[in-house]
């Protein structure tokens, strides 16, 4: 305890110097925490946007459809799937969809698209796509309505009420086509999604593609997304190998990989910030050691071993690191709180953000990873910075050190 006391008091021998180092550590931590929470916010927003607007928590397809989404690979007995989903207590909502790729043409232009045939009533609660409607309305259930992205409408030079023709390969190998009337335009977080996705009534899609009552997929929401692994395993065992049950982590592997890569890259980022701080710590601790050469000589003379000298100097640096980190984290948290409520308006960069599927307002996300990265890595780096000064103190010869002026 005396050693800890001694280390603590040594820290405040030169208050101004310690405060300067603490401030630099704190500023580094504030900047890192804000950057980290905002970056995580962007990634989570990308993921939540995709999951919420279209992908949903989990999807069921006929086996192989995810890798090879051809119209022939459909679910022939959707009633069986519905029976299973209805009886599962952890499935909150589900909806059957028809999904295929095709061409959408207007009088002036055409564009390759992903046609999604949905049950408007069920889809209303399942996804958030309705909230992105900027002109007209979402599908009302009337036949041959189509909802398209605003960007696609501009490309095709169509507006509300205009007619467009969708074409795609039907299940029997013929070319299916259907005339639709534009009922609504949406503008989502992703310009790419707006250019390539259209929504039509499922019955119209089934008719156009000669599917009868067959569907391409079931999309669903569960009560607790953290239990997706267990739920999907249970559904797999009930449905058999004929079907694939894919949680969003399998449906959006790139985004999930991005999150994992981000976690690892942030550790490296914290280490880099820590390395920058190390130089301040080395300087401070070296000055502190040089100022106390005589004292280290006395400590060694009265029998203090090198291990304890090392412990004392490292503890001083640890205190610096901990105080600086805690202060920096608290300040960072105070900045984070309003940002997490009101978000950070990045409208100036909305174009590039939309291309990544992120909205113009970014909400930072504070995770356990942010807390552990900041509270562990930075103090550890501070201790690392004190190793060299501590070794210098350990190498002092008591006789010379005591005489040092």
């Amino acid at each position: 305890m005396i050693l800890l006391n001694l280390a603590w008091r040594n820290l405040w021998r030169n208050t101004r110097r310690s405060v300067i180092v603490l401030t630099s550590v704190a500023i580094g931590v504030v900047a890192t925490v804000i950057l980290d929470t905002l970056s995580r916010g962007m990634i989570f927003q990308m993921l939540n946007n995709q999951v919420g607007s279209h992908v949903t928590h989990m999807q069921i397809h006929r086996a192989g459809f995810h890798k090879n989404p051809v119209i022939q690979n459909t679910i022939a007995d959707p009633e069986r799937i519905e029976t299973v989903l209805r009886s599962d207590p952890e499935i909150v909502l589900y909806s059957a969809r028809v999904v295929t790729f095709g061409l959408l043409s207007s009088a002036t232009n055409s564009s390759g698209i992903s046609i999604v045939g949905v049950d408007p009533e069920r889809e209303r609660s399942l996804t958030t796509i309705r909230s992105y409607i900027v002109e007209g309305s979402y599908l009302t259930g009337a036949p041959r309505e189509i909802v398209i992205g605003k960007a696609l409408a501009e490309k095709l030079e169509v507006g509300l009420g205009d007619r467009v023709v969708a074409m795609a390969s039907a299940k029997d190998g013929t070319m299916g086509s259907e005339l639709f009337r534009v009922a609504g335009l949406f503008e989502t977080f992703s310009s790419e999604f707006d250019k390539t996705s259209v929504y039509v009534p499922r019955s119209s899609a089934q008719a156009m593609l000669e599917l009868g009552s067959e569907v391409s997929e079931f999309a669903m929401l569960v009560t607790d997304p953290d239990r997706l692994a267990e739920i999907s395993k249970r559904l797999r065992s009930r449905l058999g190998e004929e079907y694939e049950v894919l949680p969003y982590t399998d449906l959006l592997p790139f985004l999930v990989l991005q999150i994992e890569l981000y976690d690892q890259s942030m550790v490296i980022f914290y280490v880099i910030v820590g390395i920058a701080l190390i130089f301040g710590i080395i300087n401070t601790m070296l000055m502190s050691v040089f100022e106390r050469i005589k004292e280290f000589g006395v400590l060694k003379a009265i029998g203090m071993k090198n291990g304890r000298i090392l412990f004392m100097v490292l503890t001083e640096a640890l205190f610096l690191g901990i105080i600086g980190t805690v202060v920096g984290f608290l300040v960072g948290y105070l900045v984070y709180l309003p940002l997490s409520t009101y978000g950070l308006d990045l409208s100036a960069f909305s174009g590039s953000l939309r291309s990544f599927g992120v909205g113009a307002i970014v909400y930072p996300v504070l995770t356990a990873g942010v807390i552990t990265n900041a509270l562990i890595i930075i103090p550890l780096m501070a201790v690392t910075g004190a190793v060299y000064p501590a070794v210098r103190a350990m190498r002092l010869e008591p006789v010379r050190a005591i005489r040092y002026v």
């Binding site: 005396i2 001694l6 008091r9 040594n10 021998r13 004292e295 006395v298 009265i302 203090m304 006789v399």
Partner: protein
């Protein structure tokens, strides 16, 4: 006759000063016995502090041997020598050298903490020694709030609180006035006679020299005139 606590045989110390070899100690044979009150005297540069450092295992000889309680110190590692100093020796320095951020009580407890003595015991022992040396009222003062004499009393308390076999004092009265010096010497004499602690001084202060039960005069690193 009892065995010496400290013994030197053919002790030599040569160190370099700006590249010039300086023969600080030349072939000293010395026996220090329990309860000695030995003063190593001599003019500046005579080698008395170097000899004290060699006796206190703070420095290593260039030639010759130092034996502490019969053990050759040259066979010990630095860590073992640190343990020996901690367990069996006490040190008093000319400039007191208390730890400035610790109170008097904490300074005295410090060596006991290094020895692993539990908090209650070291607290009790430190307070007892402070009472004995008449410095109890200084317990919670830091060195910068004490006079030189008070600091040296605390340094003495720090040196003797662990009941060492020998206390080595380098010019202990050099930085304090005569009256305070006399009081400190009285104190150390009392510790010597009552607690049977062996004291070895290096000093050129006539007051200290006069108190020595044994006197060893050094000149140019050699024993000039021993007085028993």
């Amino acid at each position: 006759m009892t065995n010496p606590i400290l013994q030197t045989k053919g002790l030599e110390k040569i160190y370099e000063n700006d590249g010039v070899p300086v023969h600080a100690v030349r072939g000293i044979d010395l026996d220090v016995f329990a309860e000695d009150f030995l003063v190593i005297a001599g003019p500046s540069g005579s080698g008395k502090t170097t000899l004290l450092n060699l006796l206190g295992a703070l420095d290593t000889p260039s030639a010759g041997r130092v034996f502490f309680e019969g053990t050759d110190l040259s066979s010990k590692s630095k860590s073992e020598l640190a343990s020996l100093r901690l367990q069996r020796m006490g040190f008093i320095f000319q400039a007191y050298n208390l730890i400035p951020v610790l109170t008097a009580l904490e300074n005295i407890e410090f060596t006991m903490m290094l020895r692993g003595i539990d908090k209650a015991e070291r607290h009790a022992r430190a307070q007892a020694v402070m009472e004995e040396l008449g410095i109890a009222e200084l317990a919670h003062k830091r060195p910068n709030h004490m006079s030189g004499g008070q600091q040296q009393r605390v340094a003495i308390a720090r040196a003797i609180v662990t009941d060492p076999a020998v206390v080595l004092a380098d010019e202990p009265t050099a930085n304090i006035d005569t009256a305070t010096g006399k009081a400190l010497l009285d104190l150390m004499e009392r510790m010597n006679s009552e607690k049977h602690i062996t004291f070895i001084f290096s000093s050129h202060d006539p007051q200290v020299i006069g108190r020595g039960k044994r006197l060893l005069c050094l000149r140019d690193g050699r024993i000039d005139s021993p007085r028993e």
